[in-house]
Amino acid sequence: MSTSIEQSSAAPDTSAPSPNPLGGHEKQAPWVPWAMFGAAAVVALGFLLLTGWNVVLFVIYTVVLGTLGTYVLSRVTEGSRKAVDRLVTCLVVSAFGIAMVPLVSLVYEVVRRGAERFDGEFFTASLQGVIGPGGGAYHALMGTLIITLLTTLISVPIGLMTAIYLVEYGSGRLKRSITFLVDVMTGIPSIVAGLFAYALFVLIFGPGVRLGIMGAVALSVLMIPVVVRSAEEVLKLVPNELREAAYALGVPKWRTILKVVIPTAIAGLATGVTLAIARVIGETAPLLITVGITNALNFNAFDGRMATLPVYAYYQLTQPGVPPENAIDRAWTAALVLIMLVMGLNVVARLISRLFAPKTSR
């Protein structure tokens, strides 16, 4: 101990320039980077006033100049480690900003233009007999809800049972080939799923058939692998000790799965299913082929065409009629409703995982 004290007391004499042995440089004040970016903005502004005003270029110049300035200043005053830290911080924040640009711009635009027709009539009227202003998407909203419900009814049992097989029972070649096929199914383009369902029903009912249930089958092809994947991951997370605890009580395997494994994983399973629904609810291409479009209300998924929100938006936009403004406004509102549905489902998924999660409080 005494020697180290002697050394530290002797240190200032030998190395006078850096009195603090743990860090030779001052720490920057927190406002310095902000000031640097402010200065960069002023420089960019001056430069652009000379060459011609452009918002995008202004932002790019400011970010690049500010990042470079912060790095150089920090390197001079704080040393290279701090400077790299500040450089990477700037890069990460810029990347986040770039990722947010399309999202914010999309939501802003859809809300702005969709608000035009976001009224009572939109949710209560169909398009039957509507030429020009007015009309709504009640039939499309109902079609989307009915078809999505049917899709869920088909996909969840199949997907869940496949996942249970893979996690609890499967082994060897069969398990590996199912996993592989599920992976392949995840990558199927949605139009191919639509063509598959169409071809399947044409074999049974003849060409030109359009049914709501066809859309549900097509969407199931897309939804099942998503459900399998998410359920598999969640079931794997259930600790093996719980299964063994149940086995040791003399509980058969199927009851262990039903009463211990699934209740423990229920929050994750429900979240996965909700997110899978959100994934397929906005699919357009398969529904375009299998379900078609109609202007009238149709609650029966087993009889004739149905309207769905994405296809509705597509047709309102591509075949707006004369004058086009009314239909295009309806298309924007349909897009807004679709986004709200997906966001709502995501919120529901979060609520479910919070509500059902195993409680540990005393």
């Binding site: 605890a245 040791a248 009851r255 423990t264 195993p358 005393r362």
Partner: protein, 259 residues
């Protein structure tokens, strides 16, 4: 209730790997038998083979005989699920069911087996099992709270209550105290001394003082080298093992001169 266990020429495999070789022993009813030995020597594997929990692991199998009161555990007509109902198990890490309350955890053995039980019978059983596990006074006011909210020692006693609620003949304990503090360990040991009035208890432990304190008979497992199967080196009354063992290896292990 309690039953005698006879094991003869038992070999235990994981796939092609022979984990335990040639075990012969008999376990007396209403006694505590301790299994000691270094890590990886097959104590837990042997314990798990006593209630056919071993075969939960894919590829695991057993050759030889385990006979409980004249009934061959590995007979072709024996259902492993029935075996496990008779032979309960407590694990190293407390594992109460996280989705269930304290009450439901104790009732789990009957509930999960879909045995129809009236509410009052179930209340009685839960109270009796929790009292049997010395946990009743601590939890009687919060039976509907989640079992995972208890402390580690309480959780382990909850798991013991859950295991004895199905009224097994034999209770297997796989290092039940290794995750517990000394006071909780003492509580579990006291509990074992009471439980041996009714059950045959087999306990795997790394704590030799614990083996000396609680058991009547001790088995010492060891293995000759890495990759070799584990063997039962010595099986004798606890007093003899800890004072005057037959085998040199046992003495070395117990006195700490091992390896």
């Amino acid at each position: 209730m309690a039953k005698r266990i006879d094991v003869s020429d038992l070999d235990i495999y994981y796939g092609n790997f022979k984990a335990v070789e040639g075990v012969n022993l008999s376990i007396e009813p209403r006694s505590i038998t301790a299994l000691i030995g270094p890590s990886g020597c097959g104590k837990s594997t042997f314990l798990r083979s006593l209630n056919r929990m071993h075969e939960v692991i894919p590829g695991a199998r057993v050759e030889g005989k385990v006979v409980i009161e004249g009934q061959d555990l590995y007979g072709s007509d024996v259902d492993p699920v029935d075996v496990r109902r008779q032979i309960g198990m407590v694990f190293q890490r407390p594992n109460p069911f996280p989705t269930m309350s304290i009450y439901d955890n104790v009732a789990a053995g009957l509930r999960l087996n879909a045995k129809k039980t009236s509410k009052s019978d179930m209340d009685d059983l839960v109270e009796r099992s929790l009292k049997g596990a010395n946990l009743w006074t601590e939890v009687k006011d919060r039976l509907s709270r989640p079992g995972s909210g208890l402390s580690g020692g309480q959780q382990q006693r909850l798991c013991i209550a859950r295991a004895i609620a199905v009224q097994p003949e034999v209770l297997l304990m796989d290092e039940p105290c290794s995750a517990l503090d000394p006071i909780s360990t003492l509580a579990v040991e006291d509990l074992m001394m009471e439980l041996k009035e009714q059950f045959t208890i087999v306990i795997v432990t790394h704590n030799m003082q614990q083996a000396a304190r609680v058991s009547e008979t001790t088995g010492f497992f060891n293995l000759n080298g890495v990759g070799q199967p584990g063997r039962l080196i010595e099986y004798n009354p606890t007093e003899k093992i800890f004072s005057n063992p037959d085998e040199k290896a046992t003495e070395d292990y117990i006195s700490g001169r091992f390896g």
